[in-house]
Symmetry: C2
Subunit: 230 residues, 2 copies
């Protein structure tokens, strides 16, 4: 019952697909990697993790155990962690499968504001045609919205005061801007080129590798004096 999280569930599965993590770190990642769009609290994260485990999509590994028997402790400050986690969550095969299915399911939800952001964040794990469907779906959704806004504006212009008008103007410009962004992305996908920030002021010094495939990274997670949502 309950906990049918849409976005949170999706994001958790997606992050855990990349590597196992415990709740605390998961939450930090949620609020930085995808955090522009959404911020989550423990109050929603932990219950969500719980039900994902219940459904068999995650396993818990209590690795805080072993209070008694402890022969060698060479792994303490050896390589990566340094910190030990209490409960490490890990994606099961079923969970992976489920996430894959969610990824390829391009229902009309997929282009709603918040859904779209999270989906985009996991585009690296999707096939190109799914990406295209989502990008185009999102774009036409925004174009619909634009049309309505224009119509509404034409009808009611006289009755609105300057601030309301300015608000609407700015809102429309934002939407137009996102449409242009999407169009660029779609074009990039279509021509099969790699993703490169085009009109940016400061082009990232990064060589884009393979856009179609594996985000394969796992290094030592650095101490990370990470932020919290203010």
């Amino acid at each position: 019952m309950s906990r049918r999280s849409g976005i949170l569930e999706f994001a958790v599965l997606g992050l855990l697909r990349e590597s196992p993590m415990h709740g605390y770190e998961l939450r930090k990642r949620l609020n930085t990697s995808l955090g522009v769009f959404r911020a989550f609290s423990y109050g929603s994260l932990y219950p969500c993790l719980k039900t994902l485990v219940e459904r068999g999509w995650l396993t818990e590994e209590h690795e805080t155990a072993a209070p008694s028997q402890e022969g060698e402790r060479q792994d303490r400050q050896a390589s990566l962690t340094g910190r030990r986690a209490k409960i490490v969550y890990k994606l099961t095969a079923a969970g992976k499968e489920h996430f894959e299915e969610l990824l390829s399911h391009t229902g009309p939800d997929a282009w709603e504001d918040e859904h779209f952001g999270v989906r985009f964040a996991f585009f690296g794990q999707t096939s190109r045609d799914v990406r295209m469907r989502v990008l185009e779906g999102r774009r036409s959704r925004l174009e619909e919205r634009l049309a309505k806004m224009r119509a509404s504006l034409a009808r009611t212009r006289e009755r609105l005061d300057d601030y309301t008008l300015e608000l609407q103007r700015h809102g429309m410009e934002s939407v137009e801007r996102e449409v242009r962004w999407l169009t660029e992305l779609i074009e990039t996908e279509r021509t099969g080129r790699d993703l490169e920030a085009g009109d940016d002021a400061v082009p990232p010094p990064r060589r884009p590798g393979d856009a179609g495939g594996r985000p394969r990274h796992r290094g030592g997670t650095p101490p990370d004096p990470s932020d919290d949502t203010a």
Copy 2:
């Protein structure tokens, strides 16, 4: 208890301040005038109206007087449920006072994403210094956010795949754009110049001049074949 709506309550009071309305129209206005930011359904609107009445901020006026040709037909159940009651909601003195207080209360809520949009929509009913506080509060909120995003990006750049990176880049640009917009608005407020008076032919790009507090248009509201949220 319950129904402590933040945004919806505020918006309803604000719209009713301009003129009395019944629920159906109210909802349309909510979803067009302020609709870029929020969409509300009847399921939240009507209960909200109810509690606002309970608190003495609104009055209901059951429209019963339907002067039709057949004089006997209308008074079947005249007082309470005439013909399918059309209820016009109207702001009371207390409600007006309460709204005024909400307007001038520039707590740290006022610059959160959705709150800000709705507040801005009613800027015409506020004093200049309140407007300034809200605009500047919003801007520094966004600048904080930008700083965090930059820091987080610098820390994690290598671990992110191209799509996540692009998402973050676009998000940051959006925020930067809003900051520039706010800066312009603040400047306009500060210099106090009201650009064009607005009664000449077609002033192309409109800036919010000084609304001075008066949105005093109320004419015959045209039939309005208005849209619904798709």
